[in-house]
Amino acid sequence: MADLIRELERICGTDHVVTHPHALRTYESDGLLQYHAVPRVAVLPDSAPQVRDVVIACRDAGVPWVARGAGSGLSGGALPIEEGVLLVLTRMRRILEVDLPNQRVVVEPGVTNLDVSRAVAPAHFFPPDPSSQIVCSIGGNVAENSGGAHCFKYGFTTNYVTGLEVVLPDGDVVELGGKGVDVPGYDLVGAFVGSEGTLGVATRIVLRVVPQPEAARTLVAFFRHTSEAGQTVSDVVGAGLVPGALEMMDRLSIEAAEGAVHAGFPADAGAALIVELDGPEAECDARFDEVVALCERNGATGVRIAADPAERELIWKTRKAAFAAMGRISANYYVQDGVIPRTRLSEVLEQIDALSAEHGLRVANVFHAGDGNLHPLVCYDAAVPGEPERAEELAGLIVAVCVDAGGSITGEHGVGVDKKRYMPRMFGEGDLEAFQRLRCAFDPAGLANPGKVMPTPRLCGEVPGPYRQHPLEAAGVAERF
């Protein structure tokens, strides 16, 4: 390890290699604070060639590494390995090219999500908008296939990445995709996005940006019960509307967010539903009345329509504050990220309520209602003996409810280290084995972020099966390299 550290210092300079235990504690957790591990060394390269050299040094030393962007992830995906190297990409925050004529932006991985939108404002924007968009990095978005509030209409990170430069764990640098779409060959960009840092590290990312919608109309409607809000969501979608955002908060999350933001959401509301239509002004206006009518028909106790950008901002601030504000009503909380088919919302919420009562722990719910992505926040007090374990058990049962309803263990936070134990609930052995094949094609030595995603550690064997010469090789038309 001492040799490796010297090599890292040679590559990046001593100022950019952190080995002091106190300094390393900065990196012991990502956004999920339940897990911590202090890496042996953290290295902060400044360029793609430096990243490549660091990866090669790790390869030669046989030392595993974990890439980290802003450290805002919520699944422990950037949790360091104690005997490994942490590859911190925060110095690589250059916007390399703004190609507006072709609606592309080329960035380094440390650029923040919001800075991409800023670089193309005011005419364009980058649609994926995680709540952490002020700080979270594009490299992290690529690793996690991040979503956000607007993905029901606009899609996820994977729908906006057209090209990647990737340093593979063996030190090879590959160009995947490009500025164009449907480029020839396997869709390795599609396979890499969302691979949670286990296939390599992206050093250059080509993003697609789109024109800003002409108008946005935002309302928040309050209901006595989440089931009424849920029915409104079904009715809105059933009417053929594709809102830019459809967000729901329950009583407890309204209480927490209101305490932080003071937007004037009524304290006695059982649910708040935020609906945002965006697009051509005439189209938004024509259909907004329909949304209001659907809210009222489902028993809304109040509908507040944002009169100006400031009021729209306030509604969104309240929604995006829900996670952070939870600290006001609970000493600790555990965030889940389950997904269900939207039509099962009411019955799943009932099951969560029952589980919550059974465990004697409160559960606040914030959801991306359009795409059925629930963020139940399990409230507990770590100082009370037994509560953390009970909270974890409850969180696990909530995930099970989501999978049993035909959904997923994670909609946008990733599997990381936190949800890997749930993977066998969703995938059988044959499925997991197929995942491992992809992993082994990219990283046969298992050095990139080992111990994440897959429920149990696995090794890659040699490529099995006899080598068979392809007829085209025999004919000299193609060759393997």
Binding site: G180, Y186, E283, P341, G414, D431, F442
Partner: protein, 374 residues
Amino acid sequence: MTPSPGSYEEVAGALHEAAAAGRRVRVRGSGTKLGWGAPAPDPDVELSTAKLDAIVEHNAGDLTAVVQAGLPLARLREELAAAGQMLAIDPPGEGTVGGLFATADSGPLRHRYGGPRDLVLGMTVALSDGTLARAGGKVIKNVAGYDLAKLFTGSYGTLGAILEVAVRLHPLPPRAVTAVGSSDDPAAVGRAATELAHARIEAQCLDVAWAAGAGRVLGRFTGAEAAAQAAGAARALAAAGLAVEEVDDDAELWEAQRAGQRSAGGIVVRVSGVQAQLEEQMRAAERLGGSLVGRAAHGLSWIAFAGGGPEAVDGLRRELAPSPCVVLDAPAEVRRQVDVWGVGDSTAVGLMRRVKQRFDPAGACSPGVMAGGI
């Protein structure tokens, strides 16, 4: 005689058996795109998906469906339309779900909804060692596990057999109006198309077309205010110097755009370009005496021409470099002489080869069809 297994296990078993015997296997849907991909020796075994033609689930309220590979697209379209919904992928011609995802073909709807890779939620596949594997899910948001559904989309059957696909659906818009702008100046057509691609409008489709010295920009609008939006687009096209019309009954216009992506006897080259290259692409089509249809905002075009040979394809590639150019339809003798995929010594090819070796170590699944001789 092409065996037509009736269950996923049977497909996996047949694939495994053939692979173990060192045979080459091709999975076949309705055979509409068998000529695509690099020319490879005939398969020893063909497996038909004809019996796997069920709509396993149509969750209308969730706008999702799970369908089997052998399902004819026409039948899926009909079933979904009855519920006011669609799978927003409209390639030319007919075919099956499996063939669509194996080739990742698309049509004008790609503008708003993306391609097959963007609408696939999950997939069940059979691998050549007999493994049945499922990736993704059937909800519209899900990041659990690797996205093998995208990996298999566009893999031309070279990684394994696609058996079942979970897809996102969209509401079928009640009405549509298309604004058309025409000009014989490729620069004006390119400029106008780019302008619409950058405008704060929401087109369902935004295409360009070029044939016989004349070009068009077509913007299709749907929704409550479709006519108003189309009128706005028409004004923009007129301001850019194009002769405009607004067309209510626009089905034929779009059928022609789709048809331009195929050629019975000629050569079709798909160009993965950028918006700013549209004018150059049209000029290239004109020089070859051919035609072009394309998705303006994506810079993705299909250039069709007759009578040219491999040198015409090579010329196109030089002219439009570095945009990748893939030969789709082409006469057999042209296919033999030309590099169909044109990936050359791209760094990605080595990695693709490693992926192939892991998923199909026996090399049984349509060997040689994919880019790089994979």
